[in-house]
Every structure is written in structure tokens, then in C-alpha cells.
């Protein structure tokens, strides 16, 4: 990826133009999953939970794992007043490992994912973006499905359940 802003090679520019800092392979990022991404009929979660939106330049918003799953959940649900089933985590290595079907005759770039920490450039501390821009819509869906699988393999929501949820499970 080009670095038109002269940043060091360790802080490449994301496809959206923001300066990003690569994560270590073992670094976790947390994605908040909205309850509407629950599959009420088939069960489980929809890959839409890990699908970026065009309004975000196809960058999937996450928070760096160093803040912890509980803090990530708190920021999203309490500070930003959004709904969430919890903090679902994937590592940078898992993001990089995602490979999608090149979709014959439609692909001109390498269909892989990248994750950067871009909080400083967008003014959101600890914010990380997973860049889907090289992918077609179908590829984004497939990549999201794989990220979701990684997150679910890790145990799903990693934050401490709220007290009422604990009471219910007890």
C-alpha cells in the first residue's frame, strides 16, 4: 500500500486515506455485534455483524484489544449509547489469514484483508479498522463469515455479562 503522507513504513495509509498503524499478529480487536444480527430462524449470528458499510469506506470499526472486552463494550453501549450483544474478538493474524474466492474475472487486486490502528487519525482512541476495500460485495460477505467464525471459535462475546444476564444464566 502506498504511503503518500510520508509516514514510516510501519504506518501505511489505509485505502480510505487515513494513516494506519499495523497491529502485531497476536493483537486482538473487538467488534460490537448488534442484536439485530441474530438469526432468529436459523439460529446463530449473521456475517453482517462483521460486514463493513459503504458509509465507512468499507472499513470495519473495531477497538484495540489492549483496552479489554469489558471496556470496549462499555464504550459502545454506555458512552455511545448503542446496542450490543458483546465484544467479539479476532486477532490481526486471523484477519490477515482470511482468504476469499477471487471470483473469476471480477478480481483485479489481491483479495485479502488488512487491519490497522487508526484511532489517532480519526480522533477515536484505540480505534482499529479492518479494510475490506479490495473486495467485492460477495467477497466481503465471505470474509465477514470467516471473521465471525474466528470470533465464535474464541467463545463469542468476551466481555463480562451484565448482572441481569448472569442472573438469567444462573
Amino acid at each position: 500500500m502506498n504511503n503518500q503522507h510520508g509516514s514510516s513504513s510501519t504506518e501505511p495509509e489505509t485505502s480510505a486515506g487515513a494513516v494506519g498503524k499495523p497491529l502485531n499478529a497476536d493483537d486482538l480487536v473487538y467488534r460490537q455485534v448488534h442484536p439485530m444480527h441474530t438469526r432468529e430462524t436459523a439460529g446463530g449470528l449473521s456475517p453482517e455483524a462483521f460486514t463493513p458499510q459503504r458509509g465507512h469506506s468499507n472499513l470495519l470499526s473495531t477497538l484495540h484489544g489492549r483496552i479489554g472486552a469489558d471496556a470496549a463494550f462499555h464504550r459502545w453501549t454506555v458512552e455511545m449509547q448503542h446496542e450490543s450483544l458483546g465484544s467479539f474478538g479476532v486477532t490481526a493474524a486471523e484477519v490477515s489469514a482470511v482468504r476469499v474466492d477471487p471470483v473469476q474475472n471480477q478480481q483485479t487486486v489481491d483479495p485479502t484483508l488488512n487491519v490497522y490502528e487508526d484511532g489517532a487519525s480519526i480522533g477515536v482512541p484505540d480505534h482499529c479498522s479492518i479494510d475490506f476495500n479490495a473486495l467485492t460485495k460477495g467477497q466481503r460477505k465471505q470474509a465477514a463469515r470467516k471473521l465471525l467464525d474466528y470470533a465464535l471459535d474464541r467463545g463469542g462475546a468476551l466481555n463480562t455479562p451484565a448482572e441481569d444476564e448472569q442472573a438469567e444464566s444462573a
Binding site: 436459523a42 449473521s46 455511545m80 467477497q139 465471505q142 463469515r145
Partner: protein, 413 residues
């Protein structure tokens, strides 16, 4: 008092004796006493007004009303016995040429005879004159029944008959009575005093449904829409095409009608349409002032519809900054395919995308199918094999039929 005798069923056994063959002196002529054997019907007007000689001229209408009532009952009896016919034969009404020959003193008692027409063959006249006589007696017994039970016997209970019967005695005052029926057997007569006449009138008013505006609901698919006339065709299984005219002031309903229109004549949700009609038996059915159109749903469709409600309740920003709630056109297109989605009877889910789209997700074997209904009339079909990672996708204009076909067959055509 509403009866002049017992309620024995009338018989037509005296038809021969109650008609005049048209030759010689008319029955009753030159006589001043009671009804003659050849008199067709007894008819007596009672009340102070009728004690003088003859009959008040303005009461002659009553004879016409009585004749009309007998004819309508005879007509109904004929149709009852000839189920293959929708009307009486030519000449049946003209042949019932009831005639007044004289008025007996006391209560005004016009003598009514029924001459045999020259141009009617004997065997036909035998049948018809028997029906007329039977009708006279059925009318009397039915009137007695109606007076006591507030209802007409089913065999003659038609709007035409009710209307004709309630006219009998309608010109009389509250202290005046008309007695009608068999010429010689008092038990086969009916006495229509003001109380009985009120009952007859009320029965007809209560049952005169065709004159009332009826609210009716019909279910079907809207196949044609005329925006100028604000009318549409509703194709139904039982009634064929129903012609419907919208409430002229309900613009929102007209717009909604457009959204549930089957542009191809087939693909659209079933809707229930509620409007007004003056005659529910008319074909084609016509509904006026249509004020309600609802999409009709089965159980599976209701579950999907409940999900659509949730989707429609999302607000922009629901999934974070810049995320969009499902747009109006996306929800509208989703409504259009909802019935067909339910008909698939497959475990599919409706998931909101953060860009204003709605994704219809379905697992078929190893393939995850996503039908993405997108804003601005677009859609994307994605087939993702979770074992082989084989991926197929197509970006198209929204098309309900190809979307359903994709979900049904699991392949992108």
C-alpha cells in the same frame, strides 16, 4: 286479530271453480249476495268509509295491489317448480287478468273473477289457473304466518314478493281493514288490519338489503391499477375479478395500492380490500369507497412480517455512526416478496445491513445464500459455499421473481 281461520295449508283443488271460462254472464252479475263459486278471490274492505254503496274510487288501487301480490306469489311458485327456468313463460302475467265485476253492499266487496284467455291452450291454462289459485291461498296463509312470526315462509320470501305484499292495504287508514283470500272458505283468508300491515312493512324494510350500503371485505391480488380513476382490479379465487374504486381523498392508500400491484399480474402479496357495495350478488363485484387495504399473511408470513416491523423501527445510526436504517424503498420491495418468501417454507432470516439494505439469508446444504435488497432499486445475490469457499455473486436491479427463484433453487440464474 290477525287470522280469519286456522292455518291449514291452502290447496289448489278448487282452481276449476274459481275461474270464469269467459262465456255467458260474468260471475256475480245480477246477484247481490255472497261470493260466488266462480269468483276467484274474496276481497273485502272494512271500515266506516266503506259502509256506503259501492266502493270509494280511490280505494280501487287496492285491487291492483292485491292482484300484483297474487301474481308475484304465483311467479315464485312457478319458478320453484321449474328450477331450470329463470323467468315465467311469455303470457303468464297477462293471463292473470283479474277483473272486477261488481261491488257487493255492506263492506266494499268487489267481485273478482279470472276469465280464461282465448289464446291460451287448455292444458296450459289448467296449469296456470291452478297456480294462480294456489298463489291466492299461499298469499293468505303466508300473510297469517308473517303476522304471527314476523317472517315470510322461505318458499316465497323474495324482495319482489315482500314488496308486493306490503302494498296490500297500504292506502287504508289505521281503523280500516282488508280481508283477502279464498272466495268461499273463510279459513283460507287473511285479515290485514293496521297491525298486520305494519308487520309486513317492517319485514320488508328489515330485509331490503339491496337498498342498503353493505361493507364488504374481499381477498385477492391487485392486477390492474388506474391512477386517474383511482380504481383497480382485484383478482379473487371465488369471485373472479372484482372492480374496486378507492376513497377519492385517500392519497396514501392510492400510493400503497401501487406498491402492492402485481405488475406482472402474478407477483404480489394477497391483500384484503374493504369497501362498500350496494349489491353483494352482482357480478362482477363492485366495491366503492375502498378505505382499507391490508396485506394478508399466513403464520410463516406473520413471523416474517413481525421481523419487518422490527427492521422498519431501526433509525439511522442504529449500528454506529453513518449506519443507515433500511430505506423506504427497500422495505417496500421486501413487503412485495414477503408472501413468496413465506411460501418457500424455508428457515430464512431477514438481517439489516448497515447501508440501508436488508439481507435475506438462507442456508441450503453447504451454501449460504444472501439476497440483498438494496436502496435505489438494486439487489445483490450471493452464494457462498462454506466448505469449498466457492463464491458466486451478481449485482442486478431488484426483481422479485429472480430473487425468489435464487432462494428457491440456490443458484444464480
Amino acid at each position: 286479530m290477525t287470522e280469519t281461520g286456522d292455518s291449514a295449508e291452502p290447496a289448489a283443488d278448487d282452481a276449476e271453480s274459481s275461474v270464469w271460462d269467459g262465456d255467458g254472464e260474468a260471475p256475480g252479475e245480477g246477484q247481490n249476495d255472497g261470493p260466488q263459486a266462480t269468483t276467484f278471490a274474496y276481497f273485502s274492505l272494512e271500515g266506516a268509509r266503506f259502509n256506503g254503496p259501492g266502493m270509494p274510487a280511490d280505494s280501487s288501487r287496492e285491487i291492483g295491489y292485491y292482484r300484483e301480490a297474487i301474481y308475484e306469489v304465483a311467479r315464485q311458485l312457478y319458478l320453484e317448480r321449474n328450477e331450470d327456468r329463470s323467468n315465467v313463460p311469455s303470457g303468464f302475467e297477462a293471463a292473470f287478468d283479474l277483473r272486477l265485476t261488481q261491488v257487493l253492499p255492506g263492506s266494499a266487496r268487489p267481485q273478482l273473477v279470472l276469465p280464461r284467455p282465448k289464446n291460451i291452450p287448455n292444458e296450459i291454462w289448467d296449469e296456470w289457473s291452478g297456480l294462480y289459485a294456489e298463489a291466492r291461498d299461499v298469499l293468505a296463509s303466508s300473510t297469517r304466518t308473517a303476522a304471527t312470526r314476523d317472517t315470510f315462509p322461505a318458499r316465497i320470501d323474495t324482495p319482489r314478493t315482500r314488496r308486493a305484499v306490503k302494498k296490500v292495504g297500504s292506502t287504508l287508514g289505521s281503523d280500516e281493514t282488508v280481508v283477502v283470500g279464498h272466495p268461499t272458505v273463510p279459513q283460507r283468508r287473511a285479515r290485514l288490519d293496521t297491525t298486520v300491515r305494519d308487520v309486513l312493512r317492517r319485514i320488508d324494510d328489515d330485509l331490503a338489503e339491496p337498498a342498503k350500503v353493505l361493507t364488504r371485505t374481499i381477498t385477492g391480488v391487485i392486477t390492474e391499477f388506474d391512477g386517474v380513476r383511482r380504481s383497480f382490479d382485484l383478482r379473487t379465487e371465488e369471485l373472479g375479478i372484482a372492480k374496486c374504486i378507492l376513497d377519492p381523498y385517500d392519497d396514501a392508500l392510492a400510493e400503497f395500492t401501487r406498491t402492492v400491484l402485481a405488475a406482472d399480474g402474478v407477483t404480489a402479496p394477497d391483500v384484503s380490500v374493504e369497501g362498500e357495495t350496494l349489491d353483494e350478488n352482482r357480478r362482477p363485484v363492485r366495491l366503492h369507497n375502498v378505505h382499507t387495504i391490508n396485506i394478508v399473511r399466513g403464520l410463516e408470513e406473520k413471523a416474517l412480517a413481525a421481523r419487518v416491523v422490527k427492521l422498519s423501527e431501526l433509525q439511522d445510526g442504529w449500528c454506529g455512526p453513518n449506519s443507515l436504517a433500511p430505506t423506504a424503498d427497500v422495505l417496500r420491495n421486501l413487503e412485495i416478496v414477503l408472501t413468496d418468501l413465506a411460501a418457500l417454507a424455508l428457515p430464512l432470516d431477514l438481517i439489516p445491513g448497515a447501508d440501508g439494505s436488508v439481507v435475506i439469508e438462507l442456508r441450503r446444504g453447504t451454501a449460504e445464500l444472501s439476497g440483498v435488497i438494496e436502496p435505489a432499486g438494486a439487489m445483490t445475490l450471493i452464494r457462498d459455499d462454506v466448505e469449498t469457499d466457492d463464491l458466486q455473486e451478481a449485482v442486478r436491479e431488484f426483481d422479485a421473481q429472480s430473487l425468489i427463484e435464487f432462494l428457491r433453487r440456490g443458484v444464480i440464474g
